[in-house]
Every structure is written in C-alpha cells, then in structure tokens.
Amino acid sequence: MPPAIQKQIRLPLSKAIEIALRSLRVRLARSILTLITIVMAIAFLTYIWTTRAIEPAAKAALLQAQGIIVAPDSSGASRTVWLITLSLLVCMVGISNAMLMSVMERFREIGTMKCLGALDSFILKLFFLESLFLGAAGTLVGVALGLAISILLLSRNYGHAAWSNIHGSTLILIAAGSSIIGLAITAAAAMYPAWKAARMQPIAAMRVDV
C-alpha cells in the first residue's frame, strides 16, 4: 500500500515556460507597457554606444576629406555614462514596479494555484520567467531600434564617411553588450516580485477583499 501522504513532484521547466508565455499573451496591454520601458532604455543605450563608437572617426574622416585634421574629442563622456546609468535604473524600477503590481493583483490566482498543488519554486519560476521573456523581447527590439536610429542619423550627418567607419564586428559587440545588460536588469528587477509571489500562502485564495 502506498504511504498515505506522498511528496509532490517538481514540474519540468517547460511547464513554467508554457504558462508564463500564456500569462503574458493574455495580459497583452500590460505586457506591452512594460516592454516599452525596456525597449526605450536599451535602445538609448545601444544608440549612445553605437554613436560614440562611430561618430568621432566618421567626423574625422569627413573633415579630412575637406583637408582639416582634428584629434577625435571625447568630451561629455562622463555625462553620457551618467545618463545611461540613470535610464537603466529607471527602467529597472519600472519593471520591478509593474511586476509587483501584477503579483499583488493576482493574489487569488497565486493562492489558488497553491491550493491546486503548485510548489513555491514553481510560482517563483513562473513570475521570473514572465519578466525574463518580457526582458528578452524588449532587449531584442531595443537593440534593433538603437542600432537602426544611430546608423540612420550617422549616415544622414556624415554620409559616406560614416559608412566606411561602420564595422560589423563593432556592431555585434555593442548588440551583445546591450543584450546582456538588458537581460541582467530585467532579471534583477524580477527577483523581488517573483520571490514575493512564491511566498504567497494558499490561504490567499480565500481572501475576498481586493
């Protein structure tokens, strides 16, 4: 005879992924709002990096073509670093806030899932994955947007001089750097809300107030 009470199994990650994706799809409006925050922050970061990598050389090349030799200047560097940091921080707080709201709104849903046998670790994964997917999508769009805008502006301002200074390897490096940062800030932002969700008690399912 099996023991009266057994241990609950741990679900594979694929299940959490499946449910997380569905939750995002259904709450599309909210998801898109959070997404836009990430897109803007990462696009800004990518734009700044790309412009700073290419503009000095493009400017020099343009002036050289007109017979003027200048040393590439790097003034205002610390100001941009400050701006980028600030934008990333704002983005992180935005994501965290949106996730936290989503967790608090869904107290009954989370409590119910616990009543149906969900483990804390499953709820944690669910909410963490939700943020991570948003982060990944936002980062992807943000990188693409940032690259497109910076290249467009550079080629408008410097024409051929810009194009001859755009190297695939530089762009790949910038895209990779932006992606890592985008994912890292969403992961960091998601930690507290996901933990909060996982800690929610099954009895939350019984709460009637909002």
């Binding site: 009470i5 057994q6 609950q8 119910t112 046998g117 483990l119 399912a205």
Partner: protein, 257 residues
Amino acid sequence: MTETAPTPPTAPPASNDGREEIVRTIDVIKEYRMGEEILRVLKGITLTIFKGEYISIMGPSGSGKSTLFNAIGGLDKPTSGKVFIDEVDIAQLDALELAWLRCRKIGYIFQTFNLIPVMSALENVMLPMIFGGMSNSDAQDKAAAILKRVGLENRLLNKPGQLSGGQQQRVAIARAFANDPAIILADEPTGNLDLNTGKQIIELLRQMNAERQVTVISATHDFKMLDVSDRIIWIRDGHIDKIQLRQDVKIDVGEMH
C-alpha cells in the same frame, strides 16, 4: 452570542461501524492577535468525519466556519490542537507533502470560483493534474470527461469571463474533482449564486459525492444544503453547538415554518 460555557457537542452516537474515518480534529483552537487583544475564534473543536459523508458546517456569520474549514484543509495552522487527514497529523508534513495533499487528497471549491482567468475551462481543470505530474494529453482527456460530467461539454474552450457564475462554479467543481480527491472542501460554494443556480450546484455536489465516494465538507449559511447533508455540524461562537443527522434536521426545518 451569549457568554455561556462551552456545551459539550451533542454528537449522535458516532456510529463508527465499518466506516473509515477520513478527517479528525482534536481540540482545535485558533487565535488571532489583534494588537494587544487575542481573539479566540475556534475554542476547541473536536470532530470526526467519515469517508463518503456529506457534511455541512453551519453557523452564524463570524462563528468560525471558514477558520475551521481552513484548518481542516491545511490552509492555515491552528494555534493548538491537531488535524488528522487519513490518520496523518498534517502539522507534521513538510512543504512537498503539503503540496501533494492539496493536489491529490483535497479538492477546494471557493465562494468566488477562483478559476484562473487566463485559462480556458479545459485548462483550468487540467491544471491540478499537470501539477500532479500527468501528461498533457492524458490530462486533457480526463478534464474533458469531467467537464462533460458537470454538463459543460460545449464550453471546454471558453475562458471564465465568458461563462456564467453557475457555469464557472461547475468548472471549479470539475477542477476540484480532477485528481480524484478523497475530500472536497467547499466554503460557501453557493454564496455568489442565485437561488436556482445554487440548488443545481448543491445537487451536482451531492451526486458527485455519491458517485465517487468522496467526502464533501461544506461551510455554508445556505439552508438548501441541509437537505443533502448526511450530518450538519452547527458552529456557534467557536464551539460545536450540536451535530445533527439529516433525518433530525428535517423535523427542525419543519418546525421552523
């Protein structure tokens, strides 16, 4: 609510003959701390519930029905006293065992239905099976069969928002039965339904109880429940006031009119 001393529960002779016990509580006390004051909500509840019984917990608002119910369901720890399910003291269970208990042994039905809004009726019913480790396709077949049983075979793919209250509660009942639990716990299952729909839901619960030999424990103010209950546990002010068998209640209800 008078401040009388706890009357000993006038339980009908616990005719234990041949019946297996499924829930037993021993002197369950629950206190809430409200700032300085300690509010004692359950003042020592001792009762035994047998397999296959349909039990209603009745009593005025605030008498402690939900609190008792949460203690039995492993949703809240009593301040003192013990709750045994299938002869296991649930206070001794670890997190994994408690999750298993909630998943397999107990099916919960809520006043507010509590369907997952982003999932269809079918997916809602599949969820406890998925948590229990069943494969998607098996879960799907079984969920469809139970939904058919509760009369929703044409609503499998509807989201909760596209269903009436009564239909949502049917989905919730199907979901509670998903893993063939031994116990169904329903706190005010008809609290948000109109008279007729409530009747149908009670009737359905009663049928499922008889069909599947599942113990149903329901906290309620709803006198419609009296008719279908095997026993009624009356709670007053945190005590068991009396425990009645159905045949005795019918007389009482008759007298009330």
